[in-house]
């Protein structure tokens, strides 16, 4: 990337006949490396500058400035409840029981680990709360938030039940990549949201209708209060074409747009799942997978822990391929993963690692298995070699 910045400067110097001898040498070698340089047209680039006039950076700065000032005023006033703390102690052990023996790896090659700053921090509690009127509130441990019916310490968001049940206000909580969040809804049901997830729910549930929330995308673990405590009202979660109806139970739904399958895993109790025209009943430890493109459904017995460990501060995998593992990692550390050798995507691993460790430690653990030769961290990209 440094080359690109240098090239841009040399381009301008060249147009103005300001190149020094040294510049010329650098330019000719860079030109060779970056073939697209010679296709650049000054005329076109000059035209592009016109677009800049349409962008009002002063107005934008005022907006940002306001947001920043607001943030520093808000102080968290709630007791710390660290729900990822449970498993913080569990240290990464990526024990290998490789199910696939991978042939093409050259074990003789010296492992190269190259790292360039900045250090990528682990994920943390953060989310954007979008109010009924569209106002966005940024939540993180440095900035709490309080309204008439909810409050947040920047890690949890808790709604209180109010007598005003006629209101049909909705809030939406979006957790970015590298984030996680916990919500307690007005009926006492709890929702844990994984990175890159978004959920919409009413601020108050109606007294005489089934309670309903919508997982717009991402992964959520729900612990739902029983219908007996809620005027007999059941609870349902909509996710795309799927509706999960429950009477009081704990379960996990994973529905990332970039993954081909939606999975619903029941931990406790009983759920009924409506999908297209079909209805499925799930028993504890059963997982329903729905393939979005083939529309196939499948119910499997699974180790519940693997499906819900993320909520306990651990990522746990059983025979998962490296591509999937890296996808999960990329969400928590907000990075992009590139496989230089695509064959590596299919190696399978079993093991667990703590979400509390930093990215480098984790990659080292994977590298030490010798199934990958090296990795490189470049800005926010990880290249697996």
């Amino acid at each position: 990337m440094k080359d690109i910045f240098l090239l841009s400067k040399l381009f301008i110097k060249k147009r103005l006949n300001l190149l020094t001898k040294e510049d010329k040498m650098i330019l000719s070698s860079l030109q060779e490396e970056y073939g697209f340089y010679k296709n650049l047209k000054t005329q076109t680039l000059l035209k592009r500058t016109h677009h800049y006039s349409l962008i009002d950076s002063n107005a934008a700065w005022r907006k940002i400035s306001k947001k920043i000032d607001q943030k520093s005023k808000r102080v968290a006033v709630f007791p710390r409840k660290n729900w990822i703390g449970y498993a913080a102690a569990s240290i990464a052990i990526l024990c290998i029981a490789s199910f696939l023996v991978f042939q093409n790896v050259d074990f003789g090659q010296a492992p190269a680990v190259s790292v360039s700053q900045p250090v990528i921090p682990k994920g943390s509690s953060k989310a954007v709360l979008i109010l009924n009127n569209g106002e966005k509130i940024y939540l993180n441990p440095e900035s709490g938030y309080t309204s008439s019916n909810s409050s947040s310490n920047g890690k949890d968001l808790v709604y209180t039940e109010s007598s005003d049940t006629d209101s049909v206000e909705f809030n939406t909580l979006a957790v970015p990549r590298g984030g996680q969040f916990h919500i307690k809804l007005s009926d006492g049901s709890e929702v844990w949201l994984n990175s890159d997830s978004k959920i919409k729910y009413p601020v108050q549930f109606s007294k005489n209708k089934p309670r309903e929330v919508k997982l717009i995308y991402g992964e959520a673990y729900l612990a739902v209060t029983s219908s007996a405590e809620n005027n007999g009202n059941g609870f349902q979660v909509k996710t795309g074409q799927q509706t999960v109806k429950v009477l009081g139970t704990e379960f996990n739904i994973k529905a990332y747009p970039e993954e081909p399958v939606i999975t619903t895993t029941l931990v406790e109790g009983k759920v009924r799942l409506n999908l297209q025209e079909d209805t499925f009943l799930l028993a504890p430890s059963e997982q329903l997978s729905f393939n979005k493109s083939t529309k196939e459904t499948q119910i499997n017995k699974v180790h519940v822990y693997d499906a819900i460990s993320w909520k306990k501060g651990v990522f746990s995998f059983k025979g998962a391929d490296l591509k999937h593992i890296m996808t999960v990692i990329s969400r928590w550390y907000d990075v992009h993963v590139i496989f230089e050798n695509r064959a590596l995507e299919t190696i399978r691993f079993t093991g667990a690692f703590s979400k509390e460790q930093n990215l480098e430690q984790l990659l080292k653990t994977i590298k030490e298995t010798n199934f990958i030769n090296a990795y490189e961290i470049k800005e926010r990209q990880i290249i697996v070699k």
């Binding site: 970056y34 005329q43 950076s57 920043i68 940024y138 970039e258």
Partner: protein, 178 residues
């Protein structure tokens, strides 16, 4: 080491890159409002996270990469909304495309800065020479002496030279005044 710990420093970085980043995002066919939101969010995030960068290039690379990633996310989600090719993964690799687009944007950014530091005749003459016109041609076009063109251009070059150095490493300013 660049640390964006006080607002003035963020201000400098913001004004240096905001327009370029918003314009760069247009490569992803996202509308202007949304692009501005994306870039503004990134600056708020940058502030909140108090990230540190070893040098200006690292900061710049971070900004472009983050804009790209967020745009890809937006496209992904819009796609889902329209229920189109849900399982299709957007390939984040396309490295050389990314580099090419960043190069175009960086050049545009610097051209814009240069053009806007110059005024009147200096600006006219530099614009024409950037377009590839030679001194005499410019003189004919602007109906002035070729000698005058040369003189004005020399002055303009002097300003630009200073500007280019400042542009490439404008953050030197941030670093030295601390």
């Amino acid at each position: 080491m660049i640390e964006l710990k006080n607002k003035d420093e963020l201000d400098v970085v913001f004004h240096a890159y905001y327009k370029a980043l918003v314009n760069y995002a247009s490569n992803f066919s996202i509308n202007l409002d949304e692009r501005e939101d994306i870039v503004q969010d990134i600056f708020v995030y940058l502030w909140k996270q108090q990230l540190e960068f070893p040098n200006e290039a690292a900061l710049k690379a971070y900004l472009y990469t983050t804009v790209r990633n967020r745009c890809l996310n937006v496209i992904k989600h819009n796609k889902v909304k329209s229920d189109f090719q849900i399982s299709q993964n957007i390939d984040p690799v396309e490295d050389s495309l990314f580099q090419k687009q960043v190069l175009e944007e960086e050049i545009t950014r610097q051209l814009y800065k240069i053009i806007n530091t110059l005024k009147g005749r200096k600006r006219e003459i530099i614009l024409l020479s950037l377009k590839g016109m030679k001194g005499p041609e410019i003189a004919t076009k602007l109906k002035i002496e070729a000698q005058t063109v040369r003189a004005i251009r020399t002055q303009a070059y002097k300003i630009i030279k200073e500007k280019i150095n400042a542009l490439g490493y404008f953050l030197n300013f941030v670093l030295t005044y601390r």
